[in-house]
């Protein structure tokens, strides 16, 4: 345990980096994911196809391959951003595909009568989507979205492989010096569990608050 306490300062800073990456990519992927879903159900075939292709790419290609491509390869084409920013962008576009999948299954739960009623009231498609369909779709999938966010938390650890000093990377570094793997890794595991638990509880509370009782 001493190794954890002695290195508390760098470990906490690394935890801050993990949370920073988590929060920004979570917000980004939620927004992007909803936009992709809207494109995916739009009447415009080109948009539908593009959104479908987007989801296929990011659901089937490993995140690590995308990270290596963005961090080590794209600078060769003159595309260079700060390291943490690159990781946040990759995580955002990657997780947005999963958000889009979740929200789309939410759209499938919206009763067609809702859409017909909106149309009867004279709402245009964009209005129907914004005021009727998307709000109900998102409310129906709060719990699955929470699971996507927990997966995002797990995936922030991959930032360690490209050199970002976040929690997993910092823990590994501390262990290489202190050589007390059991307490150090246990502490890290418990921290991740606490963060995941927080996300899960938040999702549960939000779901209770916004659930549609039918």
């Amino acid at each position: 345990m001493t190794a954890v306490i002695e290195n508390l300062d760098p470990l906490l800073r690394a935890l801050g980096t993990t949370v920073l990456i988590l929060v920004i990519s979570a917000a980004g992927s939620l927004v992007l994911g909803v936009l992709i879903t809207v494109a995916r159900v739009s009447p415009i075939p080109v948009l539908r196809g593009a959104a479908w292709a987007y989801v296929q790419v990011f659901v089937n290609v490993p995140l690590l391959a995308l990270l290596l491509l963005a961090v080590f390869a794209l600078p060769d084409a003159g595309l260079l951003m700060p390291l943490t920013t690159t990781v946040i962008v990759v995580l955002t576009v990657y997780e947005a595909a999963y958000v889009a999948e979740a929200v789309r299954s939410g759209i499938n739960t919206v009763a067609s009568g809702q859409v017909e009623a909106a149309r009867a009231l004279g709402l245009r498609l964009s209005q129907t989507l914004r005021h009727v369909v998307v709000p109900q779709a998102v409310r129906a999938v709060v719990q699955p979205l929470g699971n996507v966010m927990i997966a995002l938390l797990m995936n922030t650890a991959l930032a360690a492989t490209v050199g970002v000093v976040e929690l997993t990377s910092a823990v590994n570094k501390v262990n290489l010096v202190a050589a007390q793997p059991i307490p150090i890794f246990t502490a890290a595991g418990l921290t991740y569990m606490a963060l995941a638990l927080a996300i899960g509880l938040a999702a549960g509370r939000i779901e209770k608050k916004v659930a549609i009782h039918r």
Partner: protein
Amino acid sequence: MSHSGAFLYDAPGPRARRRILLGSVVSALVLAGVFALALVQFGRTGQLDADRWTPFLDWPIWSYLLVGLRGTALAAALVAVLAGTFGVLLAIGRLSRNRPLRWLSTGYIEVARTIPVLLLIYLMLFGLPAYGINLPVLWKLVVPLTIANAAVVAEIVRAGVLALPRGQMEAALSLGIRRSQAMRFVVLPQALRHVTPSLVTQLVSLIKDTSLGYVVAFTELLYRAQVLSAYNRLLIQTFLVVALVYLVFNGALSYLAARLRTRVRRQVAPPSGPAEQAADRELETPVVR
């Protein structure tokens, strides 16, 4: 009119058709513009030069990458078998009436789902050797992936068992067979058949996860790509080609999962009236990671 958003709008009239056409043209132009910008950027930095791509027409490079693909398949198969077995046992444990067994399985599942695989891999690589536990490279990848995937498989299987009508178990018990037999011969076979699509999707996810072999230096596809790109200095080309290989193989599996999903749904739900249509477009369990 068969895609998932089709119920959002009427069959388009002449004006709506004009608008859709206009929208198609505009969005095609925007997408083409973005693509062209990327191509210009790549071209300016010489990434599109023919000699940077022609090496990938040669057999030696492909045979080098195929060895990696074999490693990916081996690791994925091991994890699939181990995590599948372990996951089914965990699901049964979590559903069992034996309290300690139930708590143990539940605890394991909840813990294993919320610890990053990479943390476990670092533990295997740099932590456990200090205690004299030093597994071969393949197992340094397979063990952490099995630990994580078993928990996910367990939850998928449990969801399948819970979704089965209770009458199945009750009918089996009333025939006088034991609970464990009813589970084995009646409940599990049906539950597994229903969750096959989700299990295939999880297989895609674990194939993606084997790319962590890059971290433990196990010879799988991404690791080979990394070694190859360090040798030929064609980073963008190598990683794009490898991403395409992953896309083709996993895309085929994802397509299979989607096909199975519609088939299972057809078997489970007979044709229904309009009132049940919304319920028919049921929630798919989105698989995460």
